[in-house]
Symmetry: C2
Subunit: 339 residues, 2 copies
C-alpha cells in the first residue's frame, strides 16, 4: 500500500507551491513555461495520479456521469449506452449505469445516489419519464437534482433546468409508413406498444396522421408490450380475418421476431407475402431471415450529442436542447409491393 503521490509531493519536489502545481495540472494559463515543464516532468516521474474524489469535493462536481435507462439488455438501450460510454471514456468521464426496469423507486433511488456522490451529471432515457404524465415523485426528484448537477432527459421536463435531447418518434413512424405506402400498401398494421408510454403514443399519433394524409381509412392497431410474444399474438389475431394486412409495423425489432414467427407458422412468408418493418434498427434486424427494414435515431450522433451536451453542461458552457437528430433508415429485404 505505497502512499499516494499528491500535488503536495510534487510541490515539495519542485520547490514550488501546491497552487502553482495545481494550476499547471489544470492548464490554467498564467504560468511560466519553465515551471510548467518542471511540474509536468516531476509529476510523471513520481507517477502522480489525480484524485477525483478530492477534486470533486473541492469543486463539487465529479467526473462520473450516471445513466438511467429501463433495461440495458434490450438491444436499443444497449446500443445507446455503449456509444455513450465509448465517447465518455475517451473524454475522461466514467459512466455509471442503472437499469430502472421502469421502477419508480429504483429511479429516484439512483438520483439520490448520484446526488450524494456529487456526480458530474445524470442522463435519463425513457423509463417513467416516458409516461404520458411524468409521476410527480420522479418529476420532483429530477427538478431538484437539476438544480444541483446537470441533467439530460430524452423528453422535455417542464419548468426545470434539464436539457433535453429528443428522440423524434413521430418522424421515425412517418418514415416507415410512407415507405410502405409508396410500395402500395393500404392495409398496414401497427403492432405492439403500451398506450401509457409517451414514445408509443407519439408513434400512434403519427401513424394516424400519415394514414389520413394519404386518405387511408383503416387503422389497424394491436396494443401490447414490446416483446416477441406481443408481435406473435398480434399476428395470430390479425391474420385470422378475411382481408388481413399486407404489411406490419412492429414496435421493436424484438417484437418483429414474433411477427415473423407467427407469419411462418401460418404459412406466410415475410418479405414476399407480407411486408414487415420495425423500429430500433438494432443488430436483431440484420440477424433475421429475411433481414428487416428498420428505422431509428442515428445512434452515434444521438450518443455524441448527449455526451457532448453533458460535458458542456459540466464545464459550464452554453448548451441548447436538441430536437433534430437525424434518422437511420435501413432498407433491407423484408418488404415488397403487395400486388
Amino acid at each position: 500500500m505505497g502512499k499516494n503521490i499528491t500535488i503536495v509531493d510534487i510541490a515539495k519536489e519542485t520547490g514550488l507551491s501546491v497552487a502553482t502545481v495545481s494550476r499547471v495540472l489544470n492548464r490554467h494559463s498564467s504560468v511560466r513555461e519553465e515551471t510548467r515543464r518542471k511540474v509536468i516532468e516531476t509529476a510523471s516521474r513520481l507517477g502522480y495520479q489525480e484524485n477525483y474524489l478530492a477534486k470533486g469535493l473541492s469543486t463539487m462536481a465529479g467526473n462520473m456521469i450516471g445513466m438511467l435507462i429501463p433495461d440495458i439488455r434490450t438491444p436499443f438501450y444497449g446500443r445507446i449506452f455503449s456509444e455513450c460510454e465509448r465517447i465518455a471514456l475517451e473524454k475522461g468521464y466514467v459512466l455509471a449505469l442503472c437499469n430502472s426496469f421502469n421502477n419508480l423507486k429504483r429511479e429516484t433511488h439512483f438520483y439520490t445516489h448520484l446526488l450524494a456522490q456529487h456526480a458530474g451529471g445524470v442522463i435519463q432515457i425513457g423509463g417513467s419519464l416516458d409516461r404520458q404524465i411524468i409521476p410527480p415523485q420522479l418529476y420532483n426528484q429530477i427538478k431538484s437534482t437539476a438544480e444541483k448537477i446537470p441533467v439530460i432527459t430524452s423528453v422535455p421536463v417542464e419548468d426545470s433546468e434539464c436539457r433535453c435531447v429528443y428522440v423524434d418518434n413521430a418522424r421515425c413512424m412517418r418514415t416507415l409508413l410512407e415507405y410502405l405506402i409508396k410500395l402500395g400498401h393500404r392495409k398496414i398494421a401497427f403492432v405492439g406498444g403500451r398506450s401509457n408510454v409517451k414514445s408509443t403514443v407519439e408513434k400512434r399519433q403519427a401513424y394516424y396522421d400519415v394514414l389520413k394524409e394519404h386518405e387511408i381509412r383503416e387503422a389497424i392497431i394491436s396494443e401490447g408490450n414490446y416483446g416477441q410474444e406481443d408481435g406473435y399474438f398480434a399476428v395470430k389475431k390479425l391474420f385470422r380475418q378475411k382481408f388481413p394486412p399486407t404489411a406490419v409495423i412492429a414496435i421493436t425489432d424484438i417484437c418483429a421476431i414474433g411477427v415473423i414467427q407467427a407469419l411462418n407458422e401460418m404459412g406466410l412468408r415475410c418479405g414476399t407475402d407480407v411486408s414487415v418493418v420495425s423500429f430500433d434498427n438494432t443488430y436483431i434486424a440484420e440477424m433475421l431471415e429475411p433481414e428487416l427494414t428498420s428505422v431509428s435515431t442515428d445512434y452515434e450522433i444521438l450518443s455524441e450529442t448527449i455526451i457532448n451536451t453533458m460535458i458542456d453542461m459540466i464545464e459550464k458552457r452554453e448548451t441548447r436542447d436538441v430536437y433534430d437528430i437525424p434518422l437511420m433508415f435501413s432498407i433491407r429485404n423484408s418488404c415488397t409491393s403487395p400486388f
Copy 2:
C-alpha cells in the same frame, strides 16, 4: 442552488458535535439512545444527504464499483451486469460500466480512472483477461490496482491480491456433451470460438476429454468467432460431408442462430434432423424456433457471489475465491436421439 445540508448543520441544530453526529450516522455503537434519536430525527427533518465524495476522501474508498466487460450488448454480459447492478444498488453501491471491446488500452485506461476516483473496487470479466497468457500491461495494471482497492476477476490472476470468481467452462461443456452422448449422438461438432481465448480453450479441452471418456474418436471442431455468421459458415462447411454431424454445440446462443439458419437453408430441421445446443442460456435460446437447450453458470448466483464478495472486500471482511457456482442447464426442444 440551495446550500447542502451537512453534518455540521445537524451538529449545530442539535447542539452536539460533528463527531457524535458522524458516529450516529455510521451506527458506531457507543452513543446514548436519546442523542441518537435526536440526530436521526433532525437529519431527516433537515433533509440531510450524505456526501460520498467527502466520505470517500476521508476513508479512501468510494461506493462506486467499476465493472469491466467486453461488450454489454451481448446477452451474456448484459445479463451478468444487470444482475450485479440490481444487487449492488440495493446494497448502496453504484456500478460504473466499461465496455473493453477486448481493447487493451481501454482496459488499462479504465483501471487508471477507477484508481483515480478511489473507487470501491473493480470487477473484470473476460476481455484480455481471457487470453491464454494475460498481457503484461494488463497484468501489471491489475496487480498494482489490487494493491490499493479490491479487484475481482473471472480468472485467477497469479501472485496478486485479486479475488477470483470462476466461471467453470469445462463443467458447462461436460454437461452439454454428456447430454448429447446419452441421447445417442457420436458425431458431435463444436462450432465457433477462437483458440487464443482461455474460456474457449477450456471448453475445447473438456470436449476432447469427454469424447475420450466415451471412446468417441472423432472430434469435429470448427474454429471461428462468437457470432451468428460463425455458426452459419461452420455448418455450411461441416454438413457438406458424406457423414455430417448429428449434433452441434454452438459456442454462444447467437452463434446457434447461424447454425439453425444454415441448417434450414440446407433443408435440415433443428430439433428433428439435427440436434443443436449452446452455451450461455440467454433469452436468445428461448426466442428461437425451436427453443434451444442451453447451459451456463447460474447468473443470479454468480452475480450475487461477485457483488457480495466485492462488498466483503470493501468492508474488509474475510473472503475466498469461488470456484463452485452452480450451472443452469435448460433442456428445451432442440435435441432428439439420432436414430
